[in-house]
Symmetry: C2
Subunit: 312 residues, 2 copies
């Protein structure tokens, strides 16, 4: 369930006018901006953006970027984009910013449905004038490239059929490969990038039954290189993306200095989807409310905005 | 331009009734079947199929399969399917029939537009309850798998921007790889499977300028293994798919015993698109009309059907 609290009715024109008022004078009225945009769903935000453009001949997102700054601006920017556009930006930043955030690419490729991932690839074309896989492939090599390109270009079958024989043989293939660090990555890549998620979960379950430990835990022993890190992320996202996001949030707030990118990414991406479930998982696992942690670790408008999206 | 001659108006109900009459008695009236279905465009054929199902509670394609046989039946079956469905069937047969017709997979992946290829992947899900790349990957290995999976999962950018620097460096990469048979296939696969077709054509042109020979001709010296054969097909289809199809037709009729699969595939697939241009290329290259060759090499209803689609 979502955490976003949005009214069922709103006036796009009144919202656009209120935002215009919030931009007046020296320094924007951030409280008013959050009160409006922090309480509108994706459709409503697009409507407000259109109305704003029609009335003031100005792009609302560009104006927001000039009015606010820092982590608050970055989070608001991602919030204001359509989901497919936002994910295209996240992938592009992950490839090009030099910090090698490959896990963000794996996360998007493995959490989204087949059609949602396609929408991101279409958005990437429009925005960057090249294909998503083109940029991923040009900035990676070896088995890391094969794995990442395979994940972002997948169009997985989404039926619920399970082939028990495959899950058995492929659990073995995964085991053999994980055992020795330099195992057969080719077959691991084939399995991870082409099988349906339902089939893969059956394979991961089979692995756990046979070896008494989950494959993602087993992989933790050897996630030293980028390939294994991406593999680990992909498996976690396919297996249970809510648990994965809980961990991202936990690491983000526990990190010395806080990982604002991770924190914003999960909250902005999931607020309209399943952030309520992720919050509950967070409380179960950490015995502390996510909102309280966010309150402690962030400040100012950025904090207000995140707490608003968290449904506070 | 197309060769198919279809009326702008037709009655779907009358067509369905006429087909029903053609099926009556012992042995179908093949002439009547060809006279109707050989002169209807893809939309009209789907309408007839729907009308037939409504009136007679029977699938027209299944009925056709039981009424006609041999090469005629196979060609008609492909003709009656929606293009995306037909291509899904062609890929499936190419993977599973043991004859390793990998060039058919490369052809479909490289000739279709990004959205057309997606439609084939969707059709594959519906028809085979798994993903297209899943079947391709499970039935191949090594660099052949990487290349084929990369081609079928591509969603190429379709803008007409050309990066001159890339075309230069990547023409060199291709040259280095082609020089030594066991060259760096990883980079060749990246280039061929992710760059836009416009960019690739610029790269191939650059190659020709630098080396005085086209890369596809150069590759001919070493198309002994499946990987190089698929590479050759992909390059030819991206460079000029009409010239490629002309060659497929030429080989099909010149082959001892005629390659009916190739002949039917090209004629059925292109009759509504650009078969007229391919026919002209054929005449230019061979100084004989394609229709005359088809007349000589085929017979019976199969011949009548192909000639009808050829616009005779």
């Amino acid at each position: 369930m979502a955490t976003l609290i949005a009214p069922s009715h709103h006036s796009r024109v009144e919202d656009a006018e209120a935002l215009r008022n919030a931009f007046k004078g020296w320094g924007a009225d951030d409280k008013a901006i959050i009160a409006i945009l922090g309480h509108r769903n994706v459709h409503q935000r697009q409507e407000i953006r259109k109305a704003y453009e029609e009335i003031y001949q100005e792009d609302l997102i560009k104006r927001l970027e000039s009015e606010i700054s820092g982590d608050f601006e970055r989070a608001m920017y991602r919030w204001m984009l359509q989901p497919a556009d936002r994910d295209a930006v996240l992938v592009n930043v992950a490839i090009k910013n030099g910090t090698k955030d490959y896990h963000v690419i794996a996360e998007i490729a493995c959490v989204l449905s087949a059609e949602e991932l396609l929408a991101v690839r279409r958005a990437y074309h429009r925005r960057y004038k090249c294909s998503l896989e083109e940029d991923v492939a040009a900035n990676t090599t070896g088995n890391l490239r094969q794995l990442l390109v395979g994940l972002v270009t997948s169009y997985r079958y989404e039926g619920d059929e399970i082939n028990v024989k495959f899950s058995q043989t492929e659990a073995n293939v995964l085991h053999e490969s994980v055992k020795e660090k330099k195992g057969n990555s080719e077959e691991v890549i084939r399995i991870l990038t082409t099988r349906s998620k339902t089939q893969l979960v059956a394979t991961f379950n089979r692995y756990r039954d046979e070896h008494g430990i989950s494959i993602s835990k087993k992989l933790l022993d050897q996630t030293s290189d980028d390939f294994h890190k991406v593999l680990h992320t992909a498996i976690r996202c396919i297996n249970d993306h809510k648990k994965y996001y809980e961990k991202v949030l936990r690491n983000a707030v526990k990190k010395f200095g806080t990982d604002e990118d991770g924190l914003s990414r999960v909250i902005v991406t999931r607020a309209e989807k399943d952030l309520k479930d992720i919050k509950e998982l967070y409380y179960k696992r950490n015995s502390v409310h996510l909102e309280d942690e966010v309150s402690k670790e962030t400040s100012g408008d950025y904090k207000k905005f995140l707490l608003t999206l968290l449904g506070k």
